[in-house]
Amino acid sequence: MSLKTPISRRDFIRWAVAAPAAMSMVEEFLPKLAVALDEAVKEYPIIWLQASTCSGCSVSVINTIHPSIKNVILEQILPGHKLILNYHGTLMAATGALSVEAAFESAEKYKGKYVFVVEGAIPTKQNGVYGHIGEKDGKPITMLEWVDFFGRNAMATLTVGTCAAYGGLSAAQPNPSGSKGTSEVFQMLNITTPVINIPGCPCHPDWFIGTVAKILLYGMPAPKEIDEQGRLKLFYGRSVHARCINRDYLDDGIFATKFGEEGCLLELGCKGPFTSADCPIRLWNGGVNWCIGAGAPCFGCTEKGYPDAHSPLYQRR
């Protein structure tokens, strides 16, 4: 496998300046010079904040198959459209102050033009002292400050996963860090940047890539395309229950009453009827399985209020 990457004019110039250090890349890049000089490629800088998160949504999104994560971060995700991952704490080469500078520089340079991705909830209690990333002038920068600065100046904000969208696990009762979802924090801070939620615990890679592609090709979704929880109906428009593989068991009155038994999983706590997501037809991890396919109830992980609204997780609601 080789790393053949279409490069933009800007990257080409950067490459040319850095040529001595990058001599080994010459052969890789030469055939693509024609593309590099083509100004038609639109670039979308991405600043990806990992706030109060387990990183599971990043881990999930890099599971994208077609496009592969290589296609997403190094190539044109769609013809003429390229994402530039300027900040991502888990993937970027830079560390320490250099990494934080990269985020701030990118936001200043592309003010109003970058996409702000939030993963994880935002601790707000006591002005957000429960989570910080990096320092500025010797003082820690709270995650709340990150969201304020990068959210305010972004073209659009995408929340990846239920924590970023609604608070999720990080905001579960008694919510010791006062964590909130992004829209709620935006409201608190009077930020009007549009937010599209892509919930899930974790977020399915197809939902993320699909939402990005929708925006790149068709612009920000119209209100009628979004449900009351700020999600694209495209992926979250029907209940898990509506398309469940166990519907015939339900119709025949066959219910599993213990783990590892065939039957509809309602008695074991399945929240499929209260959960909107296309898991039954999309499946997970290359289509190998999904929660209900593995005999486990749906826990309602794409919903506002998860997990508290669906607890006890293993009891019928």
Partner: protein, 496 residues
């Protein structure tokens, strides 16, 4: 000549799981003081109180999206223990398979995507730039191969996730785990598709991952002398091989044990304590996790970390792949591990002492990855269709349970206390709390701190050696800081 000590801060420490800050004081080019500090507080243990016991196996997975499986299993084993049930063979095997697949995912991700960029320049586009300039020594041909393997490794760890998800429902955050076993009813296609995915993983580990680690290690031979750490090792063991209810007597593929002063010793879980001398807590120090309270005091004199300091019998222990492999080697209990280690050491022309180092940790992780992958095939073949996967349980009004297991990053313990059928107390002591712990009651620094002490730092503006040491432990801060509690006067202090 008197020199002026320089304080180095690396914040954030990227390319790890979670939020970590590193501080080191360098005097005359040597690290004389080192601190590692988590920078995010979530409060999971408070979140767990008063919930239904079963919910813990879902909620504790959200400690960490890279390693949810060991939390699911340790939590389920704590429930097994509290409920007095043991999984049938299928339940035991399927838990092992999901765990094994997640080890491969985690180890491949760690070497290529988290650690390897410390040793070569990636492509000159974000997220590979900007980068620190360091002593990148690999020749261009090797560098190009590594860049390509970095890309290929994304596909491989995705396949490892698929292998897990076949049995788990989805990854990350497995659905199919339950007290008494698992929920999935195995089908023949689960077995065939698992075996062929495993074959792809094994090919990559044997022909790409292991050779790459050896290649990098050959060029960075000095890193066999850097980052030794405390040289005490602890492992709770991995892969249950029988259904013995008493965990310390259960047969495991990687055995439970510890290594102290070069001697292999048994583990008595009662001897695990958490010290708080250097932690912002006023609660009694040196207490067993099942009894521990957490009373925060951010104004506590002499404290500098929100992490407690887990100790075994008062001593500092490193956990993780090096701990498991060092013990397998020392005890000679796993002939295949001994053979693999001997072959690698001989190729690299270094002695067994070299294992206790930055490169030794990378090598141990890669060799362990191979041992786990090779073992998975027989476990998949042992799954029996039409046989039970889960033992029935009843939730007692009052009970206590303990789950001891090994995450990819090391020894993991979950302790649950049930009262009136609900969770009354939940404590987890996770690998990174051991490795990134602060000083204890006796003033002994934690393993990562010890590994940094004495390291030569030529340029304090560019302390890449320290980043390499810290990353060799594969820290997982989201796991480590889940048990922190807020303080009343927190506002005056930096939550680190």
């Amino acid at each position: 000549m008197k020199t002026i000590a320089t304080k180095i801060t690396i914040d954030p420490m990227t390319r790890i799981e979670g939020h970590l800050k590193i501080e080191a004081t360098v005097d005359n080019h040597k690290v004389v003081e080192a601190k590692s500090e988590g920078t995010l507080y979530r409060g999971f243990e408070q979140i767990l109180v008063d919930r239904e016991p079963l919910d813990a196996i879902q909620i504790t997975q959200r400690f960490c999206g890279v390693c949810p499986v060991p939390h699911a299993i340790a939590s389920a084993q704590a429930l097994d223990n509290a409920f007095g049930v043991m999984p049938p063979p299928n339940g035991r095997l399927i838990r092992n398979i999901v765990q094994g697949a997640n080890y491969i995912q985690s180890h491949v991700l760690h070497f290529y995507h988290l650690a390897s960029l410390d040793f070569y320049r990636g492509p000159d586009i974000p997220p590979f730039v900007p980068r620190y300039e360091a002593d990148y020594r690999l020749p261009d041909t090797v560098r190009e191969a590594l860049v390509n393997h970095y890309i290929q490794a994304y596909q491989i760890r995705l396949k490892a996730h698929e292998l897990a998800a076949i049995w788990a429902g989805k990854m990350p955050h497995m659905a199919s785990i339950a007290p008494g076993g698992v929920t999935i009813i195995p089908r023949i296609d689960n077995i065939t598709t698992s075996l062929w995915r495993l074959k792809e993983l094994t090919d990559f580990i044997d022909n790409v991952y292991l050779p790459d680690v050896i290649t990098v290690a050959q060029v960075y031979r000095d890193y066999f002398q850097i980052g030794a750490g405390c040289k005490n090792f602890l492992s709770f063991g991995l892969f249950d091989l029988d259904a013995e209810p008493e965990v310390t007597k259960r047969k495991r593929f990687f055995p439970m044990g510890r290594m102290s002063n070069g001697r292999i010793e048994p583990v008595d879980p009662r001897k695990i304590t958490e010290d708080v001398a250097a932690s912002w807590y006023d609660s009694p120090s040196h207490v067993h996790p099942s009894k521990a309270d957490t009373l925060p005091n951010p104004a506590k004199p002499g404290a500098y970390s929100w992490l407690k300091a887990p100790r075994y019998d008062g001593e500092v222990y490193e956990v993780g792949p090096l701990a498991r492999m060092a013990m397998a080697y020392q005890s000679k209990s796993m002939p295949k591990a001994v053979q693999l280690i001997d072959e690698s050491l001989s190729t690299l022309r270094v002695g067994p002492e070299a294992l206790y180092s930055v490169m030794g940790r990378h090598l141990s992780r890669a060799l362990e990855c191979k041992l786990v992958a090779d073992e998975l095939s027989s476990m998949i073949m042992q799954v029996k269709l039409e046989e039970p996967v889960c033992a029935e349980h009843k939730i007692p009004d009052e009970a206590e349970g303990m789950g001891l297991w090994c995450a990819a990053r090391g020894a993991l313990g979950h302790w649950i206390k049930i009262k009136n059928g609900k969770i009354a107390r939940y404590q987890a002591v996770v690998p990174t709390t051991w490795n990134a712990s602060p000083r204890d009651d006796k003033g002994q620094p934690g393993p990562i701190e010890q590994a940094m002490l004495g390291t030569t730092v030529e340029d304090t503006d560019n302390p890449f050696a320290l980043a390499r040491i810290v990353r060799s432990f594969d820290p997982c801060i989201a796991c480590a800081v889940h048990l922190l509690e807020p303080g009343k006067s927190v506002k005056q202090f930096r939550i680190l």
